[in-house]
Symmetry: C2
Subunit: 314 residues, 2 copies
């Protein structure tokens, strides 16, 4: 991971016992994810470069969803001793390509032998003087909004699993998500009251905001119409594209709440409203599980992709 151009936030890059990264406002945002071969990626469905890009992207989205900018990545890799060097080089190229898109460095990590390929990434980020936007601070009456694509990665995964060919756009979305990184800081600047990234599925991740904030939400079905590309893929597979929109993870779109009446910043679209929690609300049944309604009703379909339960190799 040496020999690349580091951004000026990298005060000391790889090669010593530790790296030193600028944290200009006296705080650093940090998040880690671990990806395991056969569970989070398959080498027959993604190239090593795509796997590297995706690993960085999902970590970068965690920083964006706090309203911050990624500054640096640390990448640890476990792999079998017979792993081809060309594969590792391509993985590294993907990691660097996505980091460079973000203006971030790759400043350290570790390489060890393991039976499976395991990729563990930590990302550091810079809030640039703003408060972090949490999951726990949504308020009844707020607007619910999203930035980025919903259901595309799930559609791509379904197409790959069924091996039906075609549908290149959704396959590409599964292989390399395109989180709307810049929309995170923009939302923070515009006064977002809560935010998260959509890694487990829209309903599941909005459910995290509901649980943390003690609220419910009602989503507007008309705002959740699947893209025609998803409708086409679903028709070919006999699937329901709406399920992908509501429960598909890994697109790493951003979901946030904004004050009632606030104008949403560029890149954001309204999809619903925050309700009081069932206990303090104006009657009605308590929302099941996550507390996220769709068109005023509980969603009774699949509950959303969860990284611990899903198994791409199963």
């Amino acid at each position: 991971m040496t020999g690349r151009d580091q951004p000026d936030t990298t005060l000391l890059g790889p090669g010593d016992d530790a790296a030193v990264v600028r944290a200009a406002d006296g705080r650093v945002v940090a998040s880690s994810d671990m990806l395991v071969q056969g569970r989070h990626f398959r080498l027959d469905w993604s190239t090593p470069e795509q796997i590297g890009r995706k690993a960085v992207a999902q970590n970068g989205a965690d920083i964006a969803s706090m309203g911050a900018w990624p500054t640096a990545f640390l990448v640890s890799l476990g792999c079998p001793p017979d792993t081809p060097v060309a594969m590792l080089d391509a993985l590294t190229d993907g990691i660097w390509a996505e980091a460079e898109c973000l203006g971030a460095g790759v400043v350290g990590g570790d390489t060890v032998q393991s039976d499976q390929i395991v990729l563990s990434i930590t990302v550091l980020g810079d809030l640039r003087g703003r408060d972090a936007v949490l999951r726990s601070t949504a308020t009844a009456g707020d607007q619910v909004a999203v930035a980025g694509r919903l259901g595309w990665s799930a559609a791509g995964l379904a197409v790959l699993a069924a091996d039906i060919g075609g549908h290149a756009e959704v396959i590409a979305a599964h292989q390399v998500p395109e989180p709307p990184y810049g929309s995170g800081p923009v939302a923070a600047e515009a006064g977002a009251t809560s935010m998260t990234d959509i890694s487990d599925g829209l309903l599941a991740d909005l459910g995290h905001i509901c649980a943390a904030s003690g609220v419910r939400m009602d989503l507007e079905p008309a705002a959740l119409e699947p893209d025609p590309l998803l409708v086409a893929a679903a028709a070919a597979l006999g699937d329901d594209a709406v399920v992908w929109v509501l429960t598909g993870g890994e697109d790493h779109a951003l979901a946030a709440t904004f004050p009632s009446g606030a104008e949403l910043p560029d890149g954001w679209r309204r999809i619903g409203v925050v309700l009081p929690d069932a206990g303090t609300g104006a009657g009605g049944t308590a929302a099941r599980g996550a507390g996220v309604l769709v068109g005023g009703r509980e969603w009774t379909g699949a509950a959303g992709w969860e990284s611990f339960g899903a198994n791409l190799s199963g």
Copy 2:
């Protein structure tokens, strides 16, 4: 990893998309290590709590060797689905126990399914306004010094592998190293010209300083006498305790260079001197490999433990 007492450097702990950690002087030191079951630890030789402590200790030593204090750990864990919850709880207890010794928090991470247990730790640290002490800045004439134990972990590993019983002190040193964390910042304050932690073995890690600084070193054999406990273990095994001192890794002692004539701070002992590199020096043969001589001669024994090559299960 929630529900524990976080230090005041943890501005936002686990539970959101990312944590926020204080970086008071506008910089953050960061390092990552990955540990794999069967390669870096064995559940029959260490308890889960010891494995957790050791994983944190080896990361903490990387921060200390920059002259910094650890502030926060992010811990990602891959494990098989049938891993007992009690084992994970004990691992977490060990992680927290060692982090608390350091006054650091455990602020985030990830948990996923994998075939082997894989532990990936990232540590963040605070230089408290000082420059980082690098590997690349040793100068001919400097004193070479160490803080902490040499060869104890290797002795303990040898005793465990031979299954001869007894020798509890060196076994404990292998199970849970005791890096002299505080000696890192103390050395930085006292003007250390270079520093590293000893994870691969004294000769190997001093060799990293030599390579990075373009120098050689000559170690004084009298300063490297093995502790009587190591001599006793070696006698029982028919091994050579000096080899453990020179090549044993995982004690996470600290090695540093100090200006000629400088008084060494508490906890540090002189073990040798920095020489000019062979090209600019006053003749003599170029040092083999690492450039670290012992008593003026090249060391011809084992070259030091390397994490990628060693295999505890082999």
